[in-house]
């Protein structure tokens, strides 16, 4: 494979991995607080449609980015009300969120099907982006790619080195003790859930603004679920999450690349690679983790009712 083809593949991997990374980072924070939000797929697809719609109507992809984050966070609100204030089952509520998100986005996006979108431009830093090969990969990406990496670093620092992160981890580890110490478990979890929603929305917005600038119904195609698997796979560590997201992005692109080679492998098999690899990753990480169950936030998925 010549250098320009390799470059193209690497660039595409970055674009494929970024939405996963964004959504998974958000869910990581949510789960660190002890909340399991299975609605990532729904929030992502709402972010995709909102971002696309706003960018199309205003002509600005940057406004689209903001809209996608807001849409994700807004969709997370009913989830929060049900699971945090009304102590509903988190699994069922997350599923409801996904179904609602998929349905609502399909409804809103109907009028946008087939319309060409506004693409988020890649940066062109004079000098740096022109360095052969390395230049475009490291310095020629769009804003959200850099944001995703920056957020990964930020989340890592906040969760492990700041007081806010300490409280977050405490709430996810033992919500009864956190409450006994006077911390508002509900408020911390609300913040985590809204952050998770915004990030999922952002990930979805990336799909419709940078990855393929158009709106297709259900265009997330299960990425939200893969993001959930990624969080488990990373043992709730942001640094491992980055690696995992890029691995999955690579697997997805590998499928297209092989297709392009014209080998007689059916397209559908290659398209199913990400899903099969996700299953394999879950099996591998769960088997190994069996011994060190300590990774999982101890209160994950458990409802909390304060006694006052």
């Amino acid at each position: 494979m010549d250098q320009s083809a390799l470059l193209a593949v690497l660039l595409t991997i970055v674009t494929a991995s970024t939405p996963l990374l964004l959504a998974a980072l958000g869910e990581l924070v949510t789960e660190r607080a002890g909340v399991l939000n299975l609605g990532v797929e729904g929030m992502m697809v709402m972010g995709a449609v909102a971002g696309f719609a706003v960018a199309l109507m205003t002509g600005s992809p940057y406004l689209g980015i903001v809209a996608s984050a807001l849409a994700g966070a807004l969709l997370a609100v009913p989830f929060g009300v049900l699971t945090l204030n009304l102590v509903a089952n988190q699994v069922a509520t997350g599923l409801a969120l996904t179904l609602l998100g998929l349905g609502l986005s399909g409804l809103i996006g109907e009028r946008f099907v087939g319309q060409p979108g506004v693409r988020l431009q890649k940066l062109a830093i004079p000098g740096l982006s022109d360095i052969p090969f390395v230049g475009p990969i490291l310095f020629g990406q769009d804003v959200l790619v850099y944001l995703s990496i920056a957020l990964a670093v930020l989340v890592s620092w906040v969760v492990f080195r700041s007081r806010a992160g300490l409280i977050l981890r405490a709430v996810g580890d033992n919500h009864a003790s956190a409450h006994a110490l006077g911390y508002s478990v509900i408020r911390v979890r609300w913040a985590a859930v809204l952050f998770g929603g915004a990030m999922a929305g952002l990930g979805g917005g990336y799909l419709s603004l940078a990855y393929t600038p158009q709106w297709i119904e259900n265009m997330t195609a299960g990425r939200g679920w893969i993001a959930l698997a990624l969080v488990v796979f990373s043992s709730w560590l942001p640094s491992r999450l980055v690696i995992g997201a890029y691995l999955f992005g690579a697997v997805t692109i590998l499928g297209f690349f092989v297709q392009g080679l014209g080998v007689g492998v059916p397209a559908q098999l290659l398209s199913s690679l990400p899903y099969i690899v996700t299953i394999a990753a879950l099996v591998v990480i769960s088997t190994r983790r069996g011994r060190a169950r300590a990774d999982t936030p101890a209160c994950l998925g458990q409802p909390f009712v304060p006694d006052r």
């Binding site: 006994a180 110490l181 911390y183 011994r291 169950r293 101890a298 006694d307």
Partner: protein, 540 residues
């Protein structure tokens, strides 16, 4: 008979507290829905005083104390600090005032380090390294050393309690509240704790000490307030009372003494463990090592030990929820069954009562009749199952009613959900359900934990009666008073290893403590002591 202090005669409607008291609670009422946990309670503590709060399970001690600490708000009543009225809105406010609390059930975060845990309890922590150093210094200074960078999950129960205490000490408290601190300590660790508390008191810090361990309270405390059913019934100086008089004040009537056991010639072996090994099945679990024991017909073997030394693992190995690696490791009624499961062991005539009633011994949301089906094995002739697996609900109902009547289970409706019963009543039901099967072997873990005195007495009597009828009874308990009341033989479990069983009449608190410290070293000392006594011709 009881010497009342001067505090309670002071007008409870005064707007200010008396300056001689560090903290005063007046007319405190707390209701949870329809249930009144505290009913017009008054409490007054002087600076530097070690004040006991006594009462049996469910008397309202924890609730009262949580209100002093701000975890709960009173439904009515006032609290005064150094004479001024205060509202303790939350634990942060309590800490600002100078109140520290060490809970009975620790508020610790397993996945975090010692320093991180303590940092969460303090406000305004800027420098974690400086905090780590302070922790190392202060903990060592007060005789409770801690390694600041250790992860809590790796620490023993005694060490975890030290974290709770050091956390309070770092804030230079004026009042330290301790809720049942010695429940999880060996006798030697308890002694160390008392030294620390006495030192604190001499420095002017008051201690509010919640306990139902009367000997300890007599030894340590200067004053006490006694609660029963949410009300104050007495205020006495414990050092002037006897354990018996304190108990009477707590319970309100003489708790009837358990019928003394006759010296019994034990019959054939009903339950036998032979060098049982069981690997730890989780990061916080304890591995069992070469555990051997024998329970004969007609006797009660009690296993003493501080929480977290392998009791649950031993119970699971006995019940069959975890299987051994060879059949001969567990023998019930002469049949090797180490590799068999729970139902098969029940078919051999064994019955089991686990430590946790809700969630393990019974399903909380199920009714009592449904909970009966839980432990009826499916092979016996009296099974609840008929052809094709259909359940015989009528028979289940009958059994539930029979058990409730025989064991005095008080319930609001004929067939209520298990979780609506009080702890004592549910425990009576769970124990009764097993006794109703007339088992040849009964294994019970913490038979009267969290149970009121009346129910506890009934359960203990039932255990003794069962043994008297010829069954073999194995009791695992953290309550040494209970053990000495009902056991014929006593063994001690420590770090997954079991000491040999000794006749109850040669055991004392000190010996048990030694065994808790280290099974093998201690038992040599005991054997040595026994030989001396035999040589002397004395029976203890």
């Amino acid at each position: 008979m009881s010497n009342m202090g001067t505090a309670e005669t002071a007008a409870t409607t005064a707007a200010a507290g008396s300056p001689e008291f560090l903290v005063e609670a007046r007319g405190i009422v707390k209701k949870f829905g329809a249930f009144t946990a505290n009913d017009h309670v008054d409490l007054a503590i002087r600076p530097g005083e070690i004040h006991a709060l006594l009462g049996e399970n469910g008397a309202g001690k924890s609730t009262l104390v949580k209100m002093l600490y701000g975890s709960l708000q009173p439904t009515a009543g006032r609290i005064f600090w150094k004479g001024e009225p205060v509202t303790v809105t939350d634990p942060a406010r309590a800490r600002d005032l100078g109140i520290g609390m060490v809970f009975q059930h620790f508020s610790l975060f397993e996945a975090l380090t010692v320093t991180e845990n303590i940092a969460l309890a303090l406000t305004g922590v800027k420098d974690m390294n400086a905090l780590a150093d302070r922790i190392a210094t202060v903990s060592k200074d007060y005789g409770l050393p801690l390694e600041p960078r250790a992860t809590v999950a790796d620490l023993s129960v005694g060490e975890r309690q030290r974290i709770e205490i050091v956390r309070c000490l770092l804030q230079e408290p004026k009042l330290l509240i301790m809720d049942e601190p010695t429940a999880v300590l060996t006798p030697q660790e308890a002694d160390q704790l008392f030294l620390t508390l006495e030192r604190l008191a001499s420095e002017g810090c008051a201690v509010l000490y919640i306990s139902h361990r009367l000997e300890e309270v007599k030894r340590l405390c200067h004053a006490s307030t006694i609660l029963r059913h949410g009300k104050v019934v007495a205020r006495v100086d414990p050092s002037l009372e006897t354990a018996a008089s304190l108990a009477r004040l707590m319970v309100g009537a003489d708790v009837h003494a358990i019928r003394p056991k006759h010296a019994r010639v034990a019959g054939p072996t009903r339950l036998y463990l032979d060098q049982l090994d069981l690997p730890a099945n989780g990061p916080f679990a304890v591995a069992l090592e070469k555990v051997s024991l024998e329970v004969r017909a007609g006797e009660v073997l009690a296993i003493a030990g501080v929480a977290g030394n392998g009791q649950s693992e031993l119970f699971d190995a006995l019940s069959g929820e975890r299987r051994a690696d060879r059949p001969g490791a567990v023998v019930i009624e002469g049949t090797p069954c180490g590799t068999l499961g729970v139902s098969e062991r029940r078919a051999l005539g064994a019955a089991f009562v686990p430590e946790e009633r809700l969630g393990h011994g019974a399903v909380p949301a199920f009714r009592l009749s449904e909970n009966v089906v839980l432990t009826r094995d499916t092979v016996f002739a009296d099974a609840m199952r008929r052809l094709l697996g259909f359940l015989d609900f009528a028979r289940a109902d009958e059994t539930a009613t029979r058990v409730s009547t025989a064991y005095d289970v008080r319930k609001g409706k004929p067939d209520p959900e298990a979780r609506s019963l009080s702890g004592g009543n549910l425990q009576k039901f769970v124990v009764g359900r097993e006794l109703d099967r007339k088992p040849g072997v009964l294994v019970v873990n913490q038979p009267t934990w969290g149970v009121d005195a009346g129910a506890a007495a009934l359960i203990r009597q039932a255990l003794i009666d069962l043994a008297a009828d010829g069954a073999g009874v194995l009791v695992i308990s953290q309550d040494l008073d209970e053990i000495f009341e009902i056991a014929d033989r006593i063994a001690v479990i420590s770090r997954g290893a079991l000491s040999p069983g000794y006749d109850a009449h040669v055991m004392t608190l000190e010996k048990v403590g030694l065994l808790m410290g280290g099974a093998h070293g201690g038992s040599e000392a005991i054997d040595g002591a026994l030989k001396l006594r035999e040589a002397d011709g004395r029976a203890y």
